[in-house]
Symmetry: D2
Subunit: 133 residues, 4 copies
């Protein structure tokens, strides 16, 4: 459950004609947050996939609070928890860095745990320990 | 509230290494659905923006039901409704075409109604009529 | 070498804060053009990959001529040719539809021909016939 | 002309079903490289745009040398030069970090210099000094 923080900058390619970031980029940033959270738990997602565990997304929820423009530095705060016996949920908050620290997006993604062929599987013990401790 | 249907094919650029479409593409397809829904109501979004009404996204929810791979043809079914006095919600279902018609993604996006500078504004009558009838 | 034409509309997600499409989208549109060209030749790329032939990109060149904004309809004109014995090149022109027909982007992508594991391979006869006739 | 180096990791959203990064992402990484190069020259692109100078892309060339997969760390090496009196070219090399340092993509983007409305403009002296020294 421990929070892990990572940072990124809004790319020009992530803006749209409204002058802020295009909404779907938030889900891409959530993924950057998951990647760094798992790395901080010593279980990089690439290694997880090579062990035959995949985490396809089954549900996502996002709330947008304020604008972020090109080159703004954002801070991602992430934690994870098991949902029932076979799903994992990543909670993500993205905020401006610096003085204001205003929230930009908050939400979560819920993932099934599957084998390398995409079939639902009982999460192995090492997986539950990675998420849970 | 009337449903409008449009079609698209999964692009190679929308796949990821899991072999299915990357999750954030669903939000881009939702936007294609909104665009075509508004066009079918004789109020293209580009014209709406040129009248000084913008619809920034404030909330999104997505549920993922089945895989869709490169070049699959998908059908988007969209409807819209006012939420309170100042927000509009687009409900979207994306399904496979052809015989199986299996659901791929379902969800909604909720939008504020703002003026051209992004300030919340009371939706003009023509806007409510576009959505509501 | 025969030209094949397909159409698409600029998505909101493809715009950037300059108000036109973001430059990398052109390569995604080139791919839509290749996909439709191969379909018109009765050899959909998905089927090609299932036969164990992949076409990773080795070189791309793009020239940008004019703006295209959200919801503009664009026309893609594509042809293909073998380059030496083991490469294929797709030439793509993207232009506005309607009266002006102004060029938006022109360029090409050159592809190696590989087997399903990404190793360079001698193009099978059916492949050369698909491209060449 | 001085080279500036920055690093990034391949995001899952940037992969495709071939298991490597999708080709158009290279142009998005080139932009990350330009952004960091300009920052290193004390002229962030966001500040440049707020001074009324924009750099729309007019030409791009890319060569792809080797695969890079999800979570690989890549190193971007960038330099810039004036091309004639009114254009600027950014040369970019992207390579694997670590021991092998194999090239992944090399290429360039050429940009017009325009005012805030997109009209070609004579580059101001501070701009030429930023690029040239």
């Amino acid at each position: 459950m421990k929070d892990e923080t990572t940072r990124l900058r809004v790319r020009y390619s992530e803006t749209d004609q409204m002058g802020t970031f295009y909404n779907s980029r938030a889900l891409e940033w959530f993924e950057v947050g998951r990647t760094e959270w798992l790395r901080s738990r010593k279980m990089p997602y690439a290694e997880m996939e090579s062990r035959g565990v995949m985490l396809p997304l089954v549900e996502a929820h996002l709330e947008f609070f304020s604008r972020a423009v090109y080159d703004d530095e954002l801070s991602l705060s992430v934690n994870a928890e098991m949902v029932g016996k076979a799903r994992v949920r990543f909670n993500v908050s993205i905020a401006h860095t610096g003085e204001n620290q205003q929230d930009v997006v908050r939400g979560y993604t819920t993932h099934a745990v599957t084998d390398g062929d995409g079939r639902p599987t009982r999460p192995p013990r090492w997986f539950i320990e990675t998420i849970g401790t």
